[in-house]
């Protein structure tokens, strides 16, 4: 059928259309010793695309710390793997699916979730949790966003949320956390980053290395169609233009039911002991899976495309090799035992076909109806692709003056109205409307779902006995505004916040995964942002003891030449030794003491615990201008992120883990977006959400500050290394002792109160005083009101 006679001739135009440069083409000729045919050109173009080859990021990624005593598998496999004790390991990774989600929000998001789930169970791990980090354009009109664009942003959000939910819900994995952010720069380039976590026995981890000459190569799962061809190379590795909507056929279509079957069948097949290696077909489909398995195993591979199950007729070798049809896997079985593997897939009603075998000599040979369609040395293709040292240029220094910065309100100003506005802003407001569309409780492991604790917490059931001992905590974070203002510091804050969130749940941070979303690497300023980000991540991950075990890089997040903010999203995994000691954010009892823990605070052993004045909390106007409050109240995005002191972060986190292990505190909630006032209010709101009270009222808080800094600075600055905890009066002394032991300043702010009010005094004057219900209504319902408005 469609073979040599109808084959497209490789011309310079065709090569350019494939995004292959002249230098890259020369390198292809050198590897092959001849010119490539169209199928081979297609294979090279996807394998050497930015998305698959990391050609622009590789030289920088090397600077990330990837080792640690708990790291079993670092970057380079389908997912990172860490030891979580008792012979168990956790596999986890975060990945982007940004471009497809703009072109087709629902399918883009579903296949993003599907892809990351496959990465996890390909390792032999059963997925137990998903988190999603999402960024959209503004949902309401502003000076940057027209009414029509706001409506479009809301539609994109709706499609993405439905997509994320539909896949995870059907597959049967709880979507337990993540975050959602809004900035004008994401209007035409939303971010959809999905993180999945799985559990396996340490000795049952599978790798994607073809081994054993003569072993059969088996194709399993969905049939191959023409969908998603060039998803990786054309969609994910190029910026958007006016014509991008025409790329809709490049978006894959997900089927979570098929994936659920594939999960069960793969895990069961692995138990037979007859599976040697396995790799999912994600980006670049059959191309990537065959080439990478052979390359990693140091073998060759030979497959016959005529045997590949196809859902359409007349597909060319080019199309079959480049299809990104979802829910497919390639595995290598032990020769002579293939029937055991095939039987398992038959039981689950899935296609499973021997399509080839592992060969000697390192050549990947793709046959089609008896003709050779492509013949490529696998290792040079997979490992010797182009590596670029792209030019880097720092942008011109910002010329800001005092006028650009936030001006604090005069002393004594009542800030209640501003506070209500802040609580209702999409960044701060409750995301319940979104998270309720996700199944958060399937698998009955969710100890803390969205909003209950600073991190999502899932317990670990022993795969055989169901016994529970430990739990895992996960948080994803990334303040993109800070990364835009200062990429290096923004990246450090992202790691610090994710790790702090994990520690606030009581878990010890042990490892990290990263999803690096940037503009075009061909722009020197973007590469500068990227390089700075890597340095920031490296430093923070080293100090906080969370090596990077995997992740992905997503470049070309731009539309019509305009880049998104540099957006590293960091997922930190932590381990909670005793699953029964999860710390949540909710205040628990009237009369409990509210304490501010500050890893960077002044330590005076004589006054710790006493109420004292922090020397002019150094939240200058410049720093405050980068806060959520400055943006929401004054429309200011300027200045610099708060100074970060990583050792202070580390002290605070160690302190929190010990407080949780001793059950010394009743609640813990970190200070981040919106500052201390928001932290306090959320701990009150959660006292109802968490169902701790039988009625419908929530606990309140009454706190006092005597700080010399302006009230707005005290209440809304977003400096790190801080958390609010509550403790019963009988445990107070012990809490202060633990804090002192870790050199963390502990400062009594006030008390949890029963009547439903929320009061903050500054220098003896009430600056916020409101019924808790007024605040709660703004926080709990504003997002839903915005999104369901007609």
């Amino acid at each position: 059928m469609a073979t040599a006679s109808t084959e497209i001739r490789v011309t310079p135009e065709i090569t350019a259309e494939h995004g292959v440069t002249r230098e890259e083409y020369a390198r292809i000729q050198q590897i092959l010793g001849r010119a490539p045919n169209i199928t081979e050109l297609g294979i090279f173009s996807v394998m050497w695309s930015e998305h698959c080859s990391y050609k622009s990021s590789k030289v920088h990624l090397k600077r990330l710390p990837t080792r640690g005593k708990l790291v079993v598998q670092g970057p380079g496999e389908n997912a990172g793997v860490v030891d979580i004790g008792d012979g168990l390991v956790a596999a986890f990774k975060i990945e982007s699916h940004n471009h497809p989600s703009y072109v087709e929000p629902f399918q883009g998001a579903t296949t993003g979730v599907g892809g990351i789930l496959r990465d996890i169970f390909t390792m032999g791990a059963r997925p137990i949790a998903v988190l999603d980090s999402l960024r959209f354009g503004e949902l309401t009109p502003s000076k940057y966003t027209s009414e029509a664009d706001a409506a479009k942003n809301r539609r994109i959000l709706d499609g993405v949320v439905r997509g994320v939910g539909s896949y995870g819900n059907c597959f049967g994995v709880p979507t337990v956390g993540g975050e959602v952010g809004f900035e004008p720069c994401y209007a035409q380039n939303p971010l959809v980053n999905a993180l999945a976590l799985g559990i396996a026995k340490k000795e049952e981890i599978f790798l994607a290395k073809a081994k054993g000459i003569g072993n059969p190569v088996i194709y399993v799962g969905a049939k191959t169609g023409r969908d998603g061809i060039h998803g990786a190379s054309l969609l994910a590795s190029a910026e958007f233009t006016e014509e991008s909507k025409q790329k809709r056929p490049n978006v894959q279509v997900g089927d979570p039911f098929m994936e659920k079957l594939l999960l069960e069948a793969c895990l069961e097949a692995m138990q037979t002991g007859a599976v040697v290696a396995i790799q999912d077909m994600g980006a670049a489909g059959l191309t990537c899976s065959t080439m990478e398995m052979a390359s990693r195993g140091g073998t060759g591979i030979e497959i016959d495309l005529a045997k590949v199950p196809q859902r359409e007729t007349g597909m060319t070798p080019y199309e079959i090799m480049l299809s990104e049809s979802q829910e497919r896997m390639l595995l290598v079985a032990e020769k002579g035992r293939e029937h055991e593997v095939l039987a398992v897939f038959k039981k689950w009603g899935l296609d499973a076909v021997v399509v080839g075998r592992v060969t000697e000599g390192g050549i990947a040979r793709i046959n089609n109806n008896g003709r050779v369609a492509a013949e490529i040395p696998a290792h040079p293709l997979a490992e010797e692709g182009p590596v670029y040292h792209r030019p880097i240029a720092a942008p011109a220094p910002k010329m800001e003056t005092e006028k650009d910065w936030f001006a604090f309100a005069p002393e004594g100003t009542n800030l209640t109205a501003n506070f209500v506005k802040l609580l209702a802003s999409p960044a701060i407001a409750s995301k319940r409307w979104i998270t309720e569309q996700y199944d958060t409780s399937v698998r009955t492991n969710t100890l803390a779902g969205p909003g209950a604790s600073d991190a999502a917490v899932v317990r670990i059931k022993d795969p055989k006995t169901g016994a529970v001992k430990r739990a895992l905590a996960l948080s994803t974070d990334g303040n993109c505004r800070w990364c835009q203002l200062n990429p290096r510091m923004g990246a450090m804050h992202a790691v610090a916040e994710a790790a702090r969130n994990v520690a606030c749940s009581g878990a010890r941070p042990i490892a990290a995964t990263n999803c690096l979303n940037f503009g075009s690497p061909e722009k020197p300023e973007v590469m500068w942002q990227f390089s700075e980000t890597i340095d920031g991540l490296a430093e923070a991950c080293t100090v906080l003891g969370t090596p990077i075990t995997g992740g992905n890089v997503s470049f070309y997040n731009e539309t019509l030449g305009k880049s998104i903010y540099p957006t590293p999203v960091i997922g930190v995994l932590g381990i909670l030794e005793d699953a029964s000691r999860v710390l949540k954010i909710a205040f628990r009892n009237e009369g409990d003491v509210i304490l501010l823990l500050d890893g960077a605070g002044p330590i005076d052993t004589a006054t710790v615990g006493a109420r004292y004045i922090v020397p002019s909390a150094d939240t200058s106007r410049r720093e405050f201008s980068s806060s959520e409050y400055a943006k929401t109240i004054a429309g200011i995005v300027a200045g610099e992120p708060p100074v970060i002191e990583l050792t202070a972060e580390k002290r605070l986190q160690d302190c929190l883990v010990t407080l949780a292990a001793e059950s010394a505190v009743q609640s813990a909630h970190d200070i981040s977006d919106g500052g201390l006032a928001v932290t306090l209010a959320e701990s009150c709101f959660a006292s109802v959400v968490a169902g701790l009270q039988t009625g419908s009222f929530s606990l309140g808080a009454s706190v006092q500050f005597d700080d010399l800094s302006p009230a707005e600075s005290v209440l809304f600055n977003e400096r790190g290394a801080r958390a609010v905890v509550s403790a019963s009066p009988s445990k107070l002394a012990r809490v202060l002792e633990i804090a002192r032991q870790y050199h963390v300043a502990a400062r009594e702010l006030g008390k949890v109160i029963r009547e439903g009010s929320f009061r903050i005094q500054h220098k003896g004057r009430a600056v916020i005083d409101s019924p808790i219900e007024t605040l709660r209504d703004a926080w709990a319902n504003s997002l839903e009101r915005t999104l369901t408005a007609k």
Partner: protein, 236 residues
Amino acid sequence: MKFGVVVFPGSNCDHDAFYAIGNVLQKPVEFIWHQSEDLANCDAVILPGGFSYGDYLRTGAIARFSPVMKSIEKFAKSGGMVLGICNGFQILCEAGLLPGAMMRNSGLRFICRHVHIRVEQTDTPFTNAAQKGQILKIPIAHSDGNYNCDETTLADLDKNRQVIFRYTTPDGSDDNAGNPNGAVHNIAGVCNRERNVAGLMPHPERAVELALGSADGLVIFRSMVEALVGAAKATA
């Protein structure tokens, strides 16, 4: 005494039901594969939640034709205890073992959250350990839980006291306000006229330990255990 949990392709709460019975209640339990016509001498069968056969066509519509359902129909007709949870409830309706049908949630969205349901009848093997009027806090997780039926059926349900759970508020004061999906008469769960087959949309197997936010679902499984113990005594 032995429980069976049916596994359809696409079931995803099968492990949770298994865990609730086996680990929390510590009663014998095993999985039953959808292609099996042998119920392995189970005394009670649970059809778990999930998306059987992808819920293509209509929720539960394909699952009802699977081989295991033939045996379950026979088992139910002979008085065997069958509980359908969420997708299991949808399958039982499709199979005609329970009256009524499910429509899309009135808000046209998937909803996952804790809801409150009132135990309306206690003379069933699924509620005998509960108090009449007791309010249970149990999570829902579905897109299609909007229970509906015609007027005649509704009258029959009332007359025969077949509505065993109704949505309500935490204090039981306002059923309409507690209804998350638009179900007619706030119906969260029903049983058949013989009272040996029941279905409910909320997931009691997800509310079996306080660490998960509620242990209120246990009373349903405890009721089943007590009913089986009672039945065993009666035949002994």
